[in-house]
């Protein structure tokens, strides 16, 4: 593994082993939580029945629950966790702002504006249920464009305003402005369109059709590949654009690549699952604490694994295993993410550094 060799050549001979150990631990957790997410749910199914459902070709109620509902939902949770966390990591590095994340700076709002244009703007014939194939791609593209436009706007603001908190407040203003626009659009749309949009805004990991899941998986995979390709550029950008340029980075190219992968990942998730808060901002910080490094060759795979772990865990908790009721997953992710964010704010007062 590349990352490990890299670390064997650093100052601390133990660090390579440590990094390998943490990676193995995280990988194990992903597998465990993935299995738990399939095994646990509102309907209790015996483990034997779960295994039978997956590996045999029978068609009972359990099989329907497992194959049509729990398995796609677990895969969605994993994908969403990875996508949001990675886009958060990239935004924090590019904006050099520890508080950056897809939901905080209004990127998710931008994506939802894109979705609103498609659902509310065109015709009442398009509803999330009726969207298939090409329709899904239209929805997700609109979402990317919305996310990308807000990213660009934040970038322009960041180049003028250096203060992290000011940018944060401007991000909140931007989100508020966008939701105002969406409200006006809702006011002028008809009943069917409105219903379709409101259902979409509630967001959920479990409402995806197979074709939507395919679109999500393809988009997020593209984002992950771009992100892995960017690790050297992201490392250079940690130093700020002047130093990055002086050591040979083509800053404009790097930004374009990172913007594209961030918009694709955050936009796709928002398009199909609605806004999910605090994962994107919190997970990269947990990974930094765990690995004690700023090297993206370690942070990116670490964030991919940790994002999956946290989102799967949130999904398991939201199902309240053993009970009939289900919590909104957004509430669970907020409860996990907010303490991390508060910790970062408090620590930053001491260091006044970027991260």
């Amino acid at each position: 593994m590349k990352t490990v060799k890299q670390n064997e050549l650093s100052v601390d001979p133990d660090s390579g082993r440590k990094v390998r150990l943490i990676f193995s631990g995280l990988l194990l957790l992903v597998v465990i939580f993935l299995i738990l997410d399939i095994f646990l749910g509102s309907v209790s199914i015996k483990p034997v029945d779960v295994i039978r459902a997956i590996f045999t070709n029978s068609h009972g109620d359990f099989e329907t629950i497992i194959l049509k509902f729990r398995l796609p939902k677990a895969i969605t949770a994993l994908t969403v966790g990875v996508a949001l966390s990675l886009s958060g990591l990239q935004m924090q590095t590019v904006f050099r702002n520890p508080m950056a994340g897809p939901d905080v700076l209004g990127i998710s709002s931008g994506a939802s504006l894109g979705v609103a244009f498609v659902i509310l703007g065109f015709s009442s014939n398009i509803t999330p249920e009726s969207l298939n194939g090409l329709g899904n791609w239209i929805l997700v593209t609109a979402s990317w464009v919305g996310a990308g436009a807000v990213m660009l706007l934040i970038m322009i603001i960041s180049s003028r305003v250096k203060d992290i908190m000011t940018i944060l407040i401007l991000g909140i203003m931007l989100s508020a402005g966008i939701s105002a626009v969406v409200t006006i659009m809702q006011y002028f749309s008809n009943e069917t369109m409105l219903k379709a949009y409101v259902i979409w805004t509630m967001g959920s990991l479990g409402n995806l059709t197979v074709s939507q899941l395919n679109v999500l998986l393809i988009s997020v995979s593209a984002g992950i590949i771009l992100s892995l390709f960017s690790s050297k550029m992201l490392n250079a950008l940690l130093l700020g654009e002047n130093y990055a340029g002086s050591i040979g980075l083509n800053v404009k190219f790097a930004r374009a690549v990172i913007f594209a992968s961030t918009s694709i990942m955050a936009g796709s998730v928002t398009a199909f699952c609605g806004p999910i808060g605090f994962i994107g901002i919190a997970v990269p910080h947990i990974v930094r604490i765990l690995f004690k490094t700023s090297d993206h060759k370690v942070l990116i795979p670490g964030t991919i694994l940790m994002g999956g772990v946290v989102m799967l865990f949130s999904d398991i908790v939201s199902q309240l295993p053993g009970s009939e009721s289900v919590l909104p997953v957004n509430a669970v992710t907020s409860l996990i993410g907010i303490p991390v964010v508060i910790w970062v704010i408090l620590r930053n007062r001491k260091y006044t550094g970027s991260f």
Binding site: L9, L238, L239, G240, S246, G248, S294, G353
Partner: protein, 340 residues
């Protein structure tokens, strides 16, 4: 014209400045200058004249608005970003604040233009990094996070970073700006060593004129109407430093290379005695607004000697004694002596 083989950098009618919209805002008249291998070059000029812009233009971070910059005879316009990063390294006044980044990681950033697209550190890169850390005497800090370093240590780590970048030229914008006196000397010493022993050309801007004059091989003096280059002594003897500040309250003393504020003198005073006590008494007298006269007449000061431990001020009214320079100056202040 004989070609200078040691020349690594030359500026030919270079125009620097900013582009805002369609307007080009050119800061200075066309600049001509050159740098040889292994030279330590100080860029001097008043605040806001364009030193930083010049240094940023040299490193390719800002577009040149006319003229040429040649690196070993090849125009800067023909270099890609990556190729340029192998020719010239840069330290700005911006302080890097990244948590969880060790000194080793920071120095390893210097290998950016030498590694493949994954940025993998090979054994040869590792050796260059360790060597750079060693040369800047930062070996005991290599595992430490940069957020835990003092200003001086961080600056040394930054220098190690451009050493690892392995460029012939190092450009530094006010490398000693926020350092204490000891840190300042250490950085100057390091820059001096690198230029002598490692044949690095170091171009740095500074406001510390005395340091620049005593340490650098060459000075690029930027004035409003031209750039003057030469050995510090040549520039001093030509009197060009007098034009550095277009202000009548600052005066350059070409005898010792220092600046002083021109004040109205309150009079002349003679000082009797020798040695360091005389030197410092003279300084104090000057600060109080008096000139030291060459002929002995009342009033005059007698420096403490072996037979007398106090300063004596001889005036028409008698001899006044003072235990400290402070008391002497306090009594002189506000009085006017002798012919002005």
């Amino acid at each position: 014209m004989k070609k200078n083989l040691k020349e690594i950098l030359s500026l030919d009618s270079l125009k620097i400045g900013y582009v805002s919209g369609k307007n080009e805002n050119i800061l200075l008249p066309p600049l001509n200058a050159s740098a040889d291998r292994g030279e330590l070059i100080a860029v001097i000029g008043r605040n806001g004249i364009g030193k930083s812009t010049l240094l940023r233009t040299l490193t390719g971070l800002q577009r040149l608005l006319g003229g040429e910059i040649f690196y070993s005879g090849k125009s800067i316009r023909e270099f890609s970003r990556m190729e340029l990063a192998q020719k010239v390294g840069y330290i700005s006044t911006e302080i890097i604040k990244v948590n969880n980044m060790s000194v080793y990681d920071l120095v390893a950033m210097g290998r950016f233009p030498h590694t493949n697209w994954t940025g993998k550190i090979e054994i040869i890169d590792h050796e260059v990094i360790l060597d750079a850390i060693e040369k800047t005497s930062m070996s005991s800090f290599s595992g430490k996070f940069i957020s835990e370093l003092s200003d001086g240590e961080r600056q040394k780590a930054m220098i190690a970073r451009i050493l690892a970048q392995d460029t012939g030229i190092m450009v530094m914008d006010e490398p000693t700006a926020f350092l204490d006196v000891a840190g300042k000397y250490e950085i100057f010493h390091l820059m001096h060593t690198l230029s002598r022993n490692n044949n690095k050309t170091i171009i740095f801007s500074t406001h510390d004129l005395q340091m620049a004059i005593s340490q650098s091989d060459k000075i690029w003096l930027i004035l409003d109407n031209k750039l003057i280059e030469g050995a510090p002594e040549d520039i001093m003897l030509s009197g060009a430093f007098d034009h550095l500040f277009n202000s009548s309250t600052v005066k350059f003393n070409s005898e010792d290379g220092t600046f002083s504020s021109t004040k109205d003198t309150s009079g002349n005073i003679f000082i009797e005695g020798e040695g360091s006590k005389r030197y410092w008494t003279e300084k104090a007298i000057n600060r109080a607004g008096f000139k030291v006269s060459k002929e002995k007449r009342i009033p005059y000061i007698i420096i403490p000697s072996e037979s007398d431990y106090s300063w004596q001020l001889v005036t028409e009214t008698g001899i006044h004694r003072f235990i400290t320079v402070y008391e002497l100056i306090a009594s002189l202040r506000g009085t006017i002596f002798g012919p002005i």
